[in-house]
Amino acid sequence: MKADVTTREQDTFPKLARVNAQRMPDRVAIREKDYGIWQSTTWGDYLAQARAIALGLASLGFRRGDKVAIVGDNRPQLYWAVLATQALGGVPVPLYQDSIEKEMEYIVDHAEARFAIVEDQEQVDKLLALRARCPRLETIVYDDPRGLRAYRDSCLLSLAELEEAGRKFEIGHPTYFDDEVARGRGEDVAIICYTSGTTGVPKGAMLSHRNLIVTALNAARAENLQADEEILSYLPMAWVGDHVFSYAQAILVAFAINCPESAATVLHDLREIGPTYFFAPPRIWESLLTTVMVRIEDCAWPKRKVVGFFLALAQDLERARLAGQRPSGWRRALYPLGRLLVYGPLRDNLGLRRVRRAYTAGEAIGPEIFVFFRGLGINVKQLYGMTEASVFVTIQRDGEVRLDSVGTPIEDVELKISPEGEVLYRSPGVFQGYFKNEEATRQVMLEGGWMRSGDAGFLDPAGHLKIIDRAKDVTRLAGGTIFAPKYVENKLKFSPYVKEAVCIGQDRPYVTALVNIDLTAVGNWAERRGIAYTSYTDLSQKPEIYELIQQEVERVNRSLLEDEVLKGAQIRKFLILHKELDPDDEEITRTRKVRRGYIGQKYAALIEALYGDRDRAQVEAKVTYEDGRTGTIRADVRIREVGAAQAVR
């Protein structure tokens, strides 16, 4: 971090990685759990591997500016591939590994990728299928040869073969790699991140080396990141956040990243690594909370009572602290006992014992979830950012954490609120535009370098940014009452039994909700009560489950009552959806943001029924299976009315 990145010698990531490899060739850069053991590779390996891959690509005729699609779970080989591509002046385009063929085809075609470097057979199959329609794609390089022995396509190459070709190429061109690295400039595009987009087709945000270096470094300074940080790289590589945390900041600060063994082992690996720097979107915090709650429910009652008591105590304390009040003496006196009995062991169990700072961003986090983890003594903070800003816009500083704000701008970031109430920002991290989409670029980039965030918000007197909701989502009921759907949904989602919720109310007489139950938590709850069920659909329509969710809805209504502005927007009717909202069905994005418009169309019949007077509705929904085939689910869904909570006089 001491490096002066404004000089020509250190203005791109390949140059910075080379400095790391020279200064500390034997320090661990990436760990990956493979064959049950954490296998380490050093900064020396990082550069050597990237060099071999880069020269291999060069031997295939790679030209500066070529795009390389990168698809797979977080693997050292893929991070090396990102560095290799940048070293040759090319642009890596990471894709979501669980994208279906159609989504992948759009991006590979739009980005004009000539090469693809992928993890395994699953990705190779998709790319081979779409290659017929994307003639620009010349070569597909795979890391794991498993299952590919019978493939004879001439465009296929294993990573080992590519590196071998690179080593041969180096004999005739010994200075090629260093020359190409030296030609790189800070203004060059470093990466194109396709934003999943809650509306319309994906847009490729181009970020330059300078965008990323300046922003990542400012954030690292603001949060005092050290070279001994440990981070678990488990979020999709296609998401700009992973690129900034696991790649940009890791190289800039020279800390180690850890790649989990498989997607199914993440929670276990989290505990083994015990990261010091941790990032999770609200949905991960929610699922962590759900795991904890389910396990507490399974305890014998004395244990359950003790845990329940201390968790409530911690949350009361934290809530008081966040509100700036002084908590009562007996609570403070009991906290150390709670730490010994409950908080410490729980943190250790979750793998969050060593966390110095953890973040949540991407969406508003339910206050209850936030308070829960902070109450355990985990320094969770909110961060506000977006792809187009190279992530960081504001961060909550230590000691300035609040429930309802997302913190203050980091260095070099300016904020202002447009007359319409939209948050605007300007910073060195502001992107170079959307790839081949100037129309979209013009829509978000205003005069003087100001960027539209798309969020409605305001700055409080202390300079903290508060976000209300997506600018286009803050609406009013027919009677004029302000209604912020996401705010209500987050309250619902605090319940371990609610996985996802969609609230409706714009220009309607009252607020209604479509609820998705959490199969793990509700299934567990049902089993303990001896309620038999056959499928998700069957379970979701049980009267007992409706009773259970109704209690949660009533709790939300009571807590809405505390808010002067929003108390008019209580949920009056709800129904439980017969199927889980699924990115394959385009109901939520790959990053699990609800696509309201689409859901509004797809479930129009259900929504109408919520505003009618029947207590049942028919639904017919198309589902897409993992292999792309489609089918139809038909179900009979119940509708439940809920009374509004009244203020106690």
Binding site: Y35, G36, R146, G147, A150, S262
Partner: protein, 261 residues
Amino acid sequence: MTAEAAGPLLEVEGVSVRFGALLALSGVSLNVQRGEILAIIGPNGAGKTTLLNVISGFYHPYEGRILFEGRDRTRLSPPDVAELGVARTFQNVALFKGMSVLDNLMTGRLLKMGGHFLLDAIWWGPARRQELANRAFVERVIDFLEIQSIRKTPAGKLPYGLQKRVELGRALAAEPKLLLLDEPMAGMNVEEKEDMSRFILDVNGEFGTTIALIEHDMGVVMDISDRVAVLDYGRKIADGPPEHVRKDAAVLDAYLGAGHD
């Protein structure tokens, strides 16, 4: 290559097995070629599992002989057969239910462990090296079968499909030359069957393991096997590539019930 190595891996010659008055197998002859996937099919009670039990040394035939890599080993006991390089899975899952998946797989390595009581006790020197090498191999199997997330889970707590996969893993841990699978997909749903088919094909392709399997799902049999042998009432009634067997008149009779008064 010697003439012996070029011959069939396993030769079953005119084997008959009798349980009291019941003739379970009568004069069955069957070869298993190196590197192939052979499916053994037939109606219930045709003698498929008996044949597998004869091959693995669990039953001994009262006539006929069995050659493995060209050597007669008709009368060997199951442990001796295992030592030759034959591993198997069972129709009903036979795992150590209270033991973790990892430990279950380690039992598959038992034959590869020399073992010295004292050295094992203090986990020193060769004992330690051996344990590490065995664990490393088992980890490759775990990686191969994609069961990393259940490494430490007790086998009995797993869903049925996964238990089947673990059982396959235990057989693989023994690094067999010949792998016998007794109904590897029984009771599985379509998705689990697809996964298991892929694993069987990959075992055959990546490790070059010869596989003989009993299976009832004809779709699976036709998809993954190189050759199909059909048993009916203890007799082999057909043997050949799947597309031939599918059209064989005797096989159709056996399955459709015609010709059996």
